[in-house]
């Protein structure tokens, strides 16, 4: 039975095409005889076997790169921590809630040469909340009191010294 001429042509030309693209094959290169490439190849196949592994690897690489940039940069600024060498203007923006500070910070941070850390100290970072609790009376009205001392509260508010 004669071979399909088109298939025969393909079979005859495959190695040639392959060698055009991968000249190493001409020199008798083998994945299995190169220990480094063999291990890379094995690792690739092991990882590729699982999509979740690939996702984990990518995540790990991204997080690692971000951490490296963060660590390098922190070190850089530590080296020039003497304020006499500052090339920037140190800025403190003092504010209250509902003052548009989120919009303000996002806007000013859109400039490539500006960085303001948004609300650097949060309510939960400090102790004062521990001194306050809330009680409800029989009518359901809430009253605040300070645990350490009597609360000076008006009808709706409480101030803890």
């Amino acid at each position: 039975m004669s071979e399909n001429p088109l298939k025969a042509f393909d079979n005859a030309n495959k190695p040639t095409l392959l060698m055009n693209y991968f000249p190493e094959f001409r020199k008798g290169f083998s994945w299995r005889t190169n220990p480094i490439m063999w291990r890379v190849s094995r690792a690739y196949h092991d990882v590729a076997a699982s999509k979740s592994s690939v996702a984990m690897l990518v995540t790990f690489l991204v997080v690692g790169m971000l951490w490296a940039v963060y660590a390098l940069h922190t070190t850089h600024y530590t080296d020039m921590s003497d304020s006499a060498h500052f090339t920037h203007i140190p800025l403190i923006v003092i504010k209250l809630p509902r003052s548009g500070s989120s919009w303000f910070t996002d806007s000013i941070n859109s400039h490539p040469s500006v960085y303001l850390s948004k609300e650097i100290v949060q309510r939960s970072d400090t102790l004062w909340l521990k001194a306050r609790t809330v009680d409800k009376d029989s009518t359901g009205m809430m009253h605040m009191r300070c645990e350490t001392q009597p609360c000076m509260h008006t009808e709706r508010t409480c101030a803890c010294n």
């Binding site: 203007i89 919009w103 806007s107 500006v114 400090t126 809430m142 508010t157």
Partner: protein, 298 residues
């Protein structure tokens, strides 16, 4: 001593969070503030973590403008003074001694009526209406978030909330002005309404006041305004209408009652009626006004 007055509707949140508080000593806070004026830093709460906070990553490390590879011209932080002043006695002298070039800016909102309403709606949205944050990034709008659109306050409820915010602002300003080190470094008072009216002009004034020359300040302000105008730069959406007739169910009753209060109420009536953002020169001292007399509060 800084005394804090918190609106009553925040109290359930206070109780809920009280059991899982972390806290830092005043010395740790102080060191973190000094560090944040010297080099880019994230929030205090993540300062002991090996990895940076997501906010620090998005605003600095992975910011699209490649900030880590640039020389910064302005570096610092925003700070709600209520979060540090009551418990931790921050030594501002030590901070200013460590970073003597520091500039302080007060971010204020002059319209107390809108501040009070915003405080209420923001708290309700976050705690009761299923929204993630009091301020919503347009990208984080979640299904089930049903923001408050109508506030059913009468004149007395509005008055009570306004006086709370007046007291908070009065405390904030006096804390800065009575502290010689903060006062000495105070460079500018920045009004939210100015930002609403003309972002570029507001930032140009800010950059000039903190020590940049006028051409550099102008260039930087123009860049900020241009970047913020882009759709991806405009992450924050204002929820409330600027016309309080759309927000206060009893607007007419409140207006009539406040008008009975005479001259003491002039600023409040004007702020209630304002449908475009503005800083009224005659109302800049509203923090000091005797609003209790205006609103018949004892």
């Amino acid at each position: 001593m800084f005394r804090l007055l918190t609106p009553a509707y925040d109290t359930s949140l206070v109780t809920a969070k009280a059991s899982k508080l972390s806290h830092f000593t005043s010395s740790a806070i102080q060191q973190h503030l000094i560090a944040a004026l010297s080099r880019p830093r994230g929030k205090l709460s993540t300062s002991q973590s090996m990895f940076p906070s997501s906010r620090f990553v998005s605003d600095y490390i992975a910011h699209k403008t490649l900030k880590p590879f640039r020389s910064l011209k302005v570096l610092g932080f925003t700070l709600n003074l209520e979060h540090v002043a009551d418990a931790a006695q921050i030594d501002w002298e030590a901070i200013m001694r460590a970073v003597p070039q520091t500039k302080v800016v007060l971010l204020l909102r002059s319209n107390l009526v809108k501040t009070a309403i915003s405080g209420y709606t923001g708290s309700m949205n976050k705690n009761k209406q299923g929204c993630k944050e009091a301020n919503l990034r347009s990208s984080s709008s979640t299904p089930g978030c049903n923001p408050v659109s109508l506030v059913d306050w009468g004149a007395s409820a509005l008055s009570a909330e306004v006086t709370i915010w007046q007291e908070r602002y009065r405390n904030l300003i006096s804390s800065v002005e009575k502290n010689p080190f903060l006062k000495k470094h105070l460079a500018h008072r920045f009004y939210y309404e100015e930002l609403q009216v003309d972002q570029q002009a507001a930032f140009q004034a800010l950059f000039t006041k903190i020590g940049m020359n006028s051409s550099e300040a102008g260039d930087m302000a123009a860049t900020v305004a241009a970047n913020s105008a882009q759709p991806e730069g405009n992450l924050w959406q204002k929820r409330g209408s600027d016309d309080l007739r759309d927000v206060l169910a009893k607007f007419d009753d409140i207006e009539s009652e406040l008008m009975l209060g005479g001259p003491n109420c002039d600023c409040l009536v004007q702020q209630l009626r304002d449908v475009v953002p503005r800083v009224r020169a005659e109302c800049k001292a509203i923090w000091q006004a005797d609003l209790k007399r205006c609103m018949n509060l004892n």
